[in-house]
Amino acid sequence: MTSSLGITNYVFTEQYDFVKLNLFKVTQNTHYEGDVHEALVGQTKITRTRYPYYHVKDMIEVHRDGSRNYVEGGSGVNLREKNPHWVELLSVLGGSMNWHEFRDFYSTPLLIWLWNHVGDMGNPWSSETYDMYLWLLSKFIIPFRYEGTPHKLEVPNRPEIEDLYRKYLFREPDEPGLLSWSSAWYRLPITKIIEGFVNSVEYKMRKPTGRYVVWY
């Protein structure tokens, strides 16, 4: 019965521009190089296939991975010292720290570092700074909220929020609404988010009859 179903939404995205060399013959020259961003070398003839693999991503895991890349490699593709904020973070962390230690690390200097840099925009490390904020927010008590206007790429759950707007309000989100629901996404279960849409005046005024079935 439709009314007894709970909705769970999964965005299933094709990423043809991202491929992995994950099927290979092991020759005498085959080996991986690089530390954080490793690459397989030694193959002589590589072909791109159309056969995909599935990558199951929890949104918080996405933020965690971004944070990990920041801590271990300075964000981006091993930016390290090219990212002055990473150098500062390294100092906060006592000169060196690996990810396994960092994920249990919580200190006032780290919060101050986060406070200073969470709104960073336009740099190759900006998006992963925001990942760090969201990941720490899911893990620890952060005594402040970032209320700025993130760069478009820095609303990582934008596709999900846009999808809810299209599905329930039949329009694209306005920027304040996008940011508000983006923030709520991390605090509330999806059923509460959907309730918020369904109970809105706008939804009730625009709810179609006969042409659509809304599952919730």
């Binding site: 179903l5 299933f12 991202f18 994950n22 099927l23 013959k25 991986y32 003839k45 056969y51 949104m59």
Partner: protein, 174 residues
């Protein structure tokens, strides 16, 4: 010899790894798992329940170096197989049935390496990956999902799948 290779952790022994073993069982010859030092002592026993193929567990303590960790399975295959191939997946990555079905053909081709595209499935945080992955992959194959079929999970929970416009929707009975 076709090896299914992973670098992985102890927390996946009862979550993701059974899904990998079941899914690839009929398509590969061996599983080669590089443990970061956190596997439980009875990992082989627990994992063997999910596959009929040999499982090799190689332990290397994680030291923040992905290449060295991955070279463990490369070296193992090089030293044990004259004509060894690796299909490499991370713990949260799963080969499509299309990829698994094509493995034998691909490994007999002229290339010595194949790149495969990623399809991302992004899930809300409150639905943890473990039950979601179980839910999705116990349905066995996306081909049923794409056809818009209705299936039931082994737990008896009714699950309706809808695939429209590149979006996969799963409706779960509360």
């Amino acid at each position: 010899m076709l090896n299914y290779c992973m670098i992985t952790e102890g927390r996946y022994v009862d979550t993701y790894l059974p899904l990998h073993l079941k899914r690839a069982n009929d398509f590969v010859d061996r599983f080669v798992l590089v443990d970061d030092g956190t596997f439980p002592s009875d990992a082989v026993e627990r994992l063997s329940k999910h596959t009929t193929k040999p499982i090799v567990i190689l332990t290397r303590k994680w030291d923040n170096n992905h290449s060295k960790q991955r070279n463990v399975y490369v070296d193992y295959v090089r030293n044990n197989d004259a004509n060894g191939w690796c299909l490499v997946m991370d713990s949260d990555e799963f080969p499509s049935m299309a990829l698994l079905s094509a493995l034998r053909t691909l490994t007999q081709g002229e290339s010595d390496g194949y790149e495969t595209p990623s399809f991302d499935i992004r899930i809300p945080h409150e639905y943890r990956i473990d039950p979601i992955a179980k839910l999705l992959f116990q349905l066995d194959d996306f081909k049923e999902d794409v056809a818009g079929n209705t299936s039931s999970s082994p737990g008896g929970e009714r699950v309706d799948i809808e695939f429209r416009y590149n979006e996969l929707r799963v409706y779960r009975t509360i």
